[in-house]
Symmetry: C5
Amino acid sequence: MLINCVAYQQGTKLADMPVVQIADYLHRPECFVWVALKDATDAELLEMQAQFGLHELAVEDARHGHQRPKIEEYGDTVFTVMHTIEFSPTDEVRAGEVCVFVGHNFVLSVRNRCTQGFLGVRERAEREPHLLRHGSSFVFYALMDAVVDRYFPVIDMMEQELEGIEDKIFEPGSAKQNIERLYALKRRVGVVRHAVVPLMEATSKLYGGRVPQVCERSQDYFRDVYDHLVRCNATLDGLRDTIGTAIQVNLSMVTIDESENTKRLAAWAGIFAVATFFVGVWGMNFEHMPELKWAYGYPMAFAVIGAVCGLMYWRFRKAGWL
Amino acid sequence: MLINCVAYQQGTKLADMPVVQIADYLHRPECFVWVALKDATDAELLEMQAQFGLHELAVEDARHGHQRPKIEEYGDTVFTVMHTIEFSPTDEVRAGEVCVFVGHNFVLSVRNRCTQGFLGVRERAEREPHLLRHGSSFVFYALMDAVVDRYFPVIDMMEQELEGIEDKIFEPGSAKQNIERLYALKRRVGVVRHAVVPLMEATSKLYGGRVPQVCERSQDYFRDVYDHLVRCNATLDGLRDTIGTAIQVNLSMVTIDESENTKRLAAWAGIFAVATFFVGVWGMNFEHMPELKWAYGYPMAFAVIGAVCGLMYWRFRKAGWL
Amino acid sequence: MLINCVAYQQGTKLADMPVVQIADYLHRPECFVWVALKDATDAELLEMQAQFGLHELAVEDARHGHQRPKIEEYGDTVFTVMHTIEFSPTDEVRAGEVCVFVGHNFVLSVRNRCTQGFLGVRERAEREPHLLRHGSSFVFYALMDAVVDRYFPVIDMMEQELEGIEDKIFEPGSAKQNIERLYALKRRVGVVRHAVVPLMEATSKLYGGRVPQVCERSQDYFRDVYDHLVRCNATLDGLRDTIGTAIQVNLSMVTIDESENTKRLAAWAGIFAVATFFVGVWGMNFEHMPELKWAYGYPMAFAVIGAVCGLMYWRFRKAGWL
Amino acid sequence: MLINCVAYQQGTKLADMPVVQIADYLHRPECFVWVALKDATDAELLEMQAQFGLHELAVEDARHGHQRPKIEEYGDTVFTVMHTIEFSPTDEVRAGEVCVFVGHNFVLSVRNRCTQGFLGVRERAEREPHLLRHGSSFVFYALMDAVVDRYFPVIDMMEQELEGIEDKIFEPGSAKQNIERLYALKRRVGVVRHAVVPLMEATSKLYGGRVPQVCERSQDYFRDVYDHLVRCNATLDGLRDTIGTAIQVNLSMVTIDESENTKRLAAWAGIFAVATFFVGVWGMNFEHMPELKWAYGYPMAFAVIGAVCGLMYWRFRKAGWL
Amino acid sequence: MLINCVAYQQGTKLADMPVVQIADYLHRPECFVWVALKDATDAELLEMQAQFGLHELAVEDARHGHQRPKIEEYGDTVFTVMHTIEFSPTDEVRAGEVCVFVGHNFVLSVRNRCTQGFLGVRERAEREPHLLRHGSSFVFYALMDAVVDRYFPVIDMMEQELEGIEDKIFEPGSAKQNIERLYALKRRVGVVRHAVVPLMEATSKLYGGRVPQVCERSQDYFRDVYDHLVRCNATLDGLRDTIGTAIQVNLSMVTIDESENTKRLAAWAGIFAVATFFVGVWGMNFEHMPELKWAYGYPMAFAVIGAVCGLMYWRFRKAGWL
C-alpha cells in the first residue's frame, strides 16, 4: 500500500505525486524522491524496482521479509533492513520490519508487520529544511533514528519488569511465578537483541572508515545512531546477565526455603514421635505397671509428656529450627 | 554413480554426453561442463581427476567423506564441501555431504549419504539462460543456495519443537519428558550448527576482499548465500541459548514442585501425627481416666480430634501449604 | 549552574570572568578558558554552544544525560562522557555523569547527579604551572584522572564486602543472607563496570596510534589513565568471577547442609519408629502373652527398648549420621 | 637413542650412515639428511646441535620436554613440538612428545614418552620418490600428518564413550556411574585438546601469508594438516559442550527421580498413617464404644480401613503419584 | 634499601660502587650499570630518577606499587612491572612486585613485598660473560626469566592439590571439605592468573613486530619467556575449567548421595510403618477377635509381621533401595 510519494528539492517539498511521475524528478539536480510503502504487494515492489533500478536480490529480501537487520550495498544503492519493536495488545513484544532503499536521489521505505508509521519522521524532516538539504542520506538517518528511538521505551519497560521481579526474588512463595516471568523476560530480551545487535554491527560501517558514498555527508549523524545502539546493547547485555543470575539465585532461594521447611517439619515430627512413644508406653498391657493405678497417674502422664516435649521445643528453638 | 554430464554454452544446453567426451568441450570458448555424481566410486573420481586435473588432496577428501564444510582453492579450482541436512524416516536429523569442484570451465558435484538430489537446481538454471551465462560460478551459487535453503525448514521444525516444549515447561509432571526432548533437541542443533558455522565462515571469503577468480562475477550472489547462513546461525544461537535456559528452568520447576509437595505432605503428616497422638492418649491404661467412663466420651474424643485437626488444616491452608 | 569560568595563559591564571567575556580570551595566543558547570540548564548549554561552537549532537547528549561513557571527536573538539561513582547516604552505589568538551583553547566540564565537585583538580592544576602550560589537554587529563581515581575506593569497598561474605560462606545458617548480599554486590559491580569498561575502550584511543590533535602532547598521561582503568577492569572481572563461584558454592553448601540434616533426622526417626513398634507389641491384646504377667515385665520392656535403641544410636553414630 | 640416520638425494635414499658423516652430506646439492632419535640423551642432542647448528633455546626445549605444541623459527630452521596421543595399557589417554627440527637440508625428529614409532612414515616416503623430492619440507609434512592422523581414532573412541553414557543418562539408577564417566571423559578431552589447539594455531602459519621459507613448497599439504586439526578441534568442542550438558541433564534426572520417589513414598506413608489412625481409634479404652461389641465389628473395621485406604490409593494413582 | 650497584663493561664486572658514582659510568662506551633496590624509600627512588632520568609517571608507579604487570615505553626507557608469586609461611599464595627500568646503559630493579631475591640471576649472568655482553637487555631477560620460572612450581603444586581433591570427589562424606578446598584453590589460581596473563600480553610485544629498541638484540630470548608464559596460562586455564567442573560434579554427588539415602530411609520407614500397623490391629479392643484367644496367637502375630516385613525387605533389596 502506498503511503506517500513526495519529491524534495534543496530541503523543501516540491510535490505530492503519483508513482508514475517518479522518473520525472529523479534526474533533476539537487532533487530526491521519498516513497513510503506499507505491507507492499509484489506488484508495487516490481514497479519500484523498475523506477529506481533496484537489485533483484534486495527486492526479493524486501518481499520475503523475515530478514536479519543488515545494511548492504548494491552498486550505489544502500539496502537496509531494520526491525521495529512494538508491544502487542497482549503486552507481548513483537518485531516488525522496515526495509529502506537509499540512492543519491531517492529513499524508499517499506514497512511490514508494524502498526506504527513514520509520518512523524517526515513532518520533522520537513520542518527542518536546513537538514533535509543534506538529501537522501539525512532521510535515511532520520528513519534509522526513529526506529532506534523506539527501542528505548521497550528496553526501559523490560528493566522495570526485572526490577519488579527482583523485589520479589527473596520473598518466599513466589519462586514459581518469578521463574516464569524471568523466562518470559529472557525471551523478550532475545527478540530485542535480534533487532539491535546486527543493526549495531552494520551501522558501525556508516562512519569512520570506508563509508557508502551516499551516506558520506551524514557520518556524524550515523555515529550518533551507532552510539544509541551501543547503549541499547549494553543495557540488553546487563539485562541478560542479571536475568541469568536471578534465575540461579531464585533456585538457591527455593533450596534454602525448602531446607528451612525441612528443619521445621523435622522438629515437629520429632516432638510428636516422642509424645506418641510415651502414650504407647502407658498403653502397654503389663500387669505390674504401678503408675497406672496411681490416682494422679493420668495427669502425671500429661505432665511428663508436656515436660519432655517442652524441653525439645526449647532446644529446637535455640538451634533456630523452629 | 553418474547422474548427469552436460555441456553448456552461453547459458544454453549444448549436449548430454558420456564422460569420455568431456575433454572435447573443455577448451571451447564460453563453454562449461557440469557433471553430477552420487556416491561416486574411486574409479569415477579418478576419471574425473584426470579429466579436470583436480588436486590429489581435494579428491582424497571427496573420497573419504566426513569432512568439515570448507572452501579451498587449489590453483584456479575451488573445492567446496557442504553438509546437507535431512530428516531420516525415524525423524532424526541426518547430515549428508556434497563436494563441489569449480573451475572456470567446469562444475563437478559429488553427493554422498544424501537422498534428495539437485535436479531442481539444474532445471531452474536451464530455465534462466541469462543467469546461466555467468558460467560455472552461477552453477556453484545455485548449488550452494539449494543446500542452504534446505536448512531453513529443518531449523523451523526445531524452533517449533522448542515451542512445543516451552508450552509444557511450567506444567508439573512433564519434567522428565521435557529434559529428554531438550537434550535430543540440543544434539540436533549441534548437527545443524556443524553444517552451518564452518560454511558461513568459508562463504564470507567469496565476496568483498580477495575472491577466488572463478567466483568474482557472482559476488553479490555469494553475499546473499552468506546472509542466509548468518540468519541460520543467529537462529541456531538463539535456540542453543534458549535450550540452555530451558534446561535450567526445568530443573528449577522440578525443585519448586518438589518443595511444594514436601510442604503439602508435611502438613498432612502433621495432622495425622496429632490425631494419632490423641487416639493413643485414650488408649492408655490408667485406672483414673474419668472421660473413658462418660456416656459421650467416644464422640467427644472424635469432636476433640476433629477440632484440633480442623484448626491445623485451616492454618496450613492459610499459609498456602495445602 | 556556573561554578567557575577562568582564563589561563602559559600555565597561570589570568582572570575570573563572567561568561560573556569568554570570546575575548579565546583568540589570545597560548591562552585557554576553563569553564565548569553543574546541572546545567538548557539556556546555559546553548550559551556555551554559541561561545565555543560546539556540535549540536554533543550538546544534545550533554543535555539529555544518561549516556554511556565515550570519547567522540567533532572536528577539532573532543567530547567526553564519564560516569562518576559515589556512595549514596544509604550506602548504595550511584552513578553521576561528567561531560567534558575540549578544544585547543577551552575546556568545558558539565557535571550532573554528582555531589562531589572538581575544585581540587583546579587547585592542583594551578599549583603546578609547568604542567598547566601543556594547555587544555592537561586539564582534560587532570579531570579524567580525578574521575578514575574515585573508582578505586569504591572497588576496594566491594572487595572488602566480598571478603566479608566469603568468611561466612562455609558457616551453616547464613546462606540466605549470603545470597542476598552476593546478588546486591553483583549489581553494584555491574554499575561500576558500566562506568569503567566503555571509558577504558575509549581512552585506549588517546595514545599510541592516531590521537585527536588536542590530546597529542599528553599521550603518556592518557596512557597512565588507561592503565588505571585496565587495573579497575581486571579487579572487577575478578570480582564478577568470584561472585559467580561464590553463589554456586553457597548453593552447594545449602545442599550439603540439608543432606546432613536429613541424615540426622532420619536416624532419630528410625530410633523412635523402633521404640514405638515395641510399645505397640506389648499393647496387643493377645491372651497368651506370658511376659505381660512377669513381675519385672515392665522394666524388662524398657530394658529391651533401651538396648535396641542404644544399639541403633551407636551404629548411626559410627556411620557419622549423628 | 639413534633410530635412523639416512641421506636422500632427489627423492632416493643415498646411504644409511653413522652420525659423524652427516657433515659430508649437508653441503651436497639437492640432498638432505633425515635423523630420528628416541628419548635422546643430552650428549646426542649436543652432537646434533653441533652438526646442524641448532639454536640453544630450541635444543633446551627438546631436552626438557613438557612443552606446549608450537612451531618456532630460529633463523632458517623451523622447530616444532607436537604431542602424540596414545592409549596406555590401562586405557588411559597419555600424551608423548615429538620435536622436529627442519632446515633446508636436514630433518631431525626426537620423540619422547611415546611407544609408537614413525618407521611407517619413512617407508611411505621412500616409496613415493616424486613427493620425497620436495625435500625436507615434505618429510616434515609427513611427520605432522602421521601425528595428527593418530588423533582421530582416539577422538572416535571418546565419541563412542560419550554415546555409551548417553544411552544410560535417562535410565534411573546409573547417575553416579554416569557422572564419574563424564568427568573422566572430560579430563581426557582436555588432554587431547592440549595437543590439538596449539598445534592448529601454529600450523595456520605454514600456508597462506608469510610462510617459513623451508615450508614454502608444501603449502597445500600443510593446509591439509591444518584442515584435519580444525576438524579434530570442532569434534572436541562438540564433545566438551555435550559433556557439559550431559552433566547438567544427569543432575536434573537425579532430582526428577528423587522427586518421583518422594511422591511415591509420601503416598504410601499417607495411606499407612490413615490405617494406623483407625486401628488406634478402636484401641481406645472408652466404655461406650458400641461397635466394639458388635459380632462383626472386627471385620467391619478391616472393611472401613480397606475402603478408606483403597480410595486413597485410587486417588494417588490418578494423580500419578503411585 | 640498596642491594647492589655494579658497572659492567663488555660482559665483565668493572666495579662495585656507591650510588653517587653512577653518572661516571653511564657515558662510557659498551658499559652499563645494574642497580638492585629492595622496598625502596621515596628518597632512593628520587635519587634514581635523577641519576637515570626516569619518567615521573613510571617512578610514581614504582613507589605506589600494587600495579598490574605491564611493559611500558617512556622514550628510550622500558618500564616493566612483574608480579612474583611465593608461598607464605601459612601456605597461602602471595604476590610481590618487581619493577624494572631498562635503558641502553642501565638496569634498575626494585622489588617489593617479595622475600626471595635475585642474587642468583646476577651470579649466573656474571658467569656467562658472552651473554652478558648483550648488555642491559640480557639482564632484563634474565630477570624476567627468573620471575617466570618461579611460577612453575607454584602451578605444579596447585595441580597436585587439584588431583588430591579429585581422588576424593566421588567418595561420599567429603563433599563439604572438597568444596572448601576447591574454592580456596580457585582463588589461588586467580592470584597467579593476575600475574601471568597481563605479563604474557605485554611480553608478546618484545619480539616479532616493532620491538622497543633496547630489547631488539634479545628477541629470541623474549620469545622464549613468552612461550613459558603461554604454557603457564594454558595450565591455569585447564585448572580453572577443571575446578568449575569439579564444583558442579561435587554438587551432583551430594544430590546423588542424598537421593540414595532418601531411598534407603524410605524403605526402612515403610517396613516399620507396616509393622506398627499390624501391632495396632491386635491392640484394638473388639470383643470378637478370635485370634486373640488362640494359644499361639502371639507368636503367630510375630510370624505374620516377620513374613510381611521380610517380603518388603526382599523387594526393596531387589529394587536396589536397600
